[in-house]
């Protein structure tokens, strides 16, 4: 069971490494979206630092969502997804490996890049630290919930837009707690409550989302 899990993880990471431009696109999208806001709003540091938590979190959310359609599409096209459905190992487990690979490829780079953009938004140091922690705790939930949407829209026409419509409302709690944590630390309050709730969101979706994703894959592929 462990062997299959590691194999899927290693395979997905290797595939992502062979198509590095896909990863770069996600990062570049995150970078460009968050650079557009100062151009539209103006360079006032006070204004920028007050909108920074929301803008950075929304940008991270959209960047993660854009890459969702790729999560199962290639495997669906070449038939390897069917092999995973037929495999003796539980599909739920294989799904967690794929989602982890997606997070390592699309989520983690955004987390690492975010403090750099936070500097451009004149965020103070402790808020930057909370930003990294909140993204680290929250983005796994985005990948996990997003996988349900990606599985449901597999092979459907216009799936890119449809994923947005299905998944974005479900992202709202993560956005609220994530941006709330950074805003709380900006206002000199403890971000601990927000961070705990964010971790709770991730843990809850770690338990439930792979089950729903596996069920959705079976519906979509059969």
């Amino acid at each position: 069971m462990n062997g299959a899990w590691m194999t899927v993880l290693r395979r997905d990471l290797l595939l992502a490494f062979r198509r590095r431009s896909d990863v770069a696109t996600t990062l570049f999208f995150f970078l460009i979206v968050s650079s557009l806001f100062p151009l539209g709003i103006g360079p006032e540091p006070a204004v920028l630092s007050s909108i920074a938590p929301g803008v950075l979190w929304v940008a991270a959310l959209l960047a993660g969502m854009l890459s969702l359609t790729r999560l199962f599409a290639a495997d669906f096209a070449d038939g390897s997804l069917e092999q995973m459905l037929l495999a003796p190992q539980p599909l739920t487990l294989l799904v967690t490996a794929k989602v982890l690979a997606h997070w390592l490829v699309c989520g983690l780079p955004v987390v690492l890049l975010a403090p750099l953009i936070g500097l451009q938004y004149a965020l103070p140091n402790d808020a930057l630290f909370v930003l990294i922690i909140s993204l680290l705790l929250g983005t796994p939930a985005l990948s996990l919930i997003g996988a349900i949407g990606a599985a449901l829209t597999l092979g459907v026409r216009g799936s890119g837009l449809l994923v947005a419509l299905l998944v974005l409302p479900l992202y709202i709690p993560v956005l609220i707690f994530g941006a709330g944590a950074v805003a709380a630390s900006q206002h000199g309050m403890s971000a601990q409550a927000h961070l705990s709730l964010l971790a709770a969101c991730s843990l809850l979706s770690l338990v439930l989302a792979p089950l729903a994703t596996a069920a959705a894959l079976r519906i979509s592929v059969e």
């Binding site: 449809l162 409302p169 709202i172």
Partner: protein, 249 residues
Amino acid sequence: MSINWFKYSSPQAFYPLAGKMIPWFALLATIFAIAGLYISFAVAPTDFQQGEAYRIIFVHVPAAWMSMVIYIVMAGWAALGLALNARLSAMMAQALAPTGAIFTLLALVTGSLWGKPMWGAWWVWDARLTSELILLFLYLGFIALQASIDDPRRADRAGALLALVGVVNVPIIYFSVKWWNTLHQGSSINMGAAPKMAATMLMGMLLMALAFWMYTVVVALMRVRCIMLERERASDWVKALSVSAGEKS
């Protein structure tokens, strides 16, 4: 004595039953609506703070209730359809979704019409308004997913799964929005602290809610009859139906 619970679970058996039920529920909806409107406009007293404008709550509150009830009922039908692999349950879920979305929209529109004279703003980011808006997004996502999948069986099951995921998320979304709201703005507007309602006002609201409920049953049954005919158009009973309708005319 054992009851055959599944007798009406086949579209063929349910189609005529639904046709017989529609006029009765329509009658009930009309009676409740007339009684409710009479109480809300003629009997209920004018509010001493809000004047006559408050009367929009007789539409607004029942619509908001129904928007939530319909989502739960829809998810219930969806779960039943997934668990028992029953076609009719999935069709019921599909038939309920547009009505739920319309009630959500109605609650939002009447809420903003009420908010303008009362709060001085068409829209405030109040926890209830925001979660109602998110509920509308959930309905639209369900409808869009079902509409974009061509195979009806797959559309049913994918929609059912989405409805279940949504129903698990609704409380989480509601509380997160509530906490977000209390953190961001003080309780300048508090709907919970409104003075206690007069009994006649509550009566009017309950009657209107019943009217909306019966209306929902009527339109859902009408819509499910259309869905049944459309999906089963190749089956013998639909063909026999169209032949007998042709003979009558």
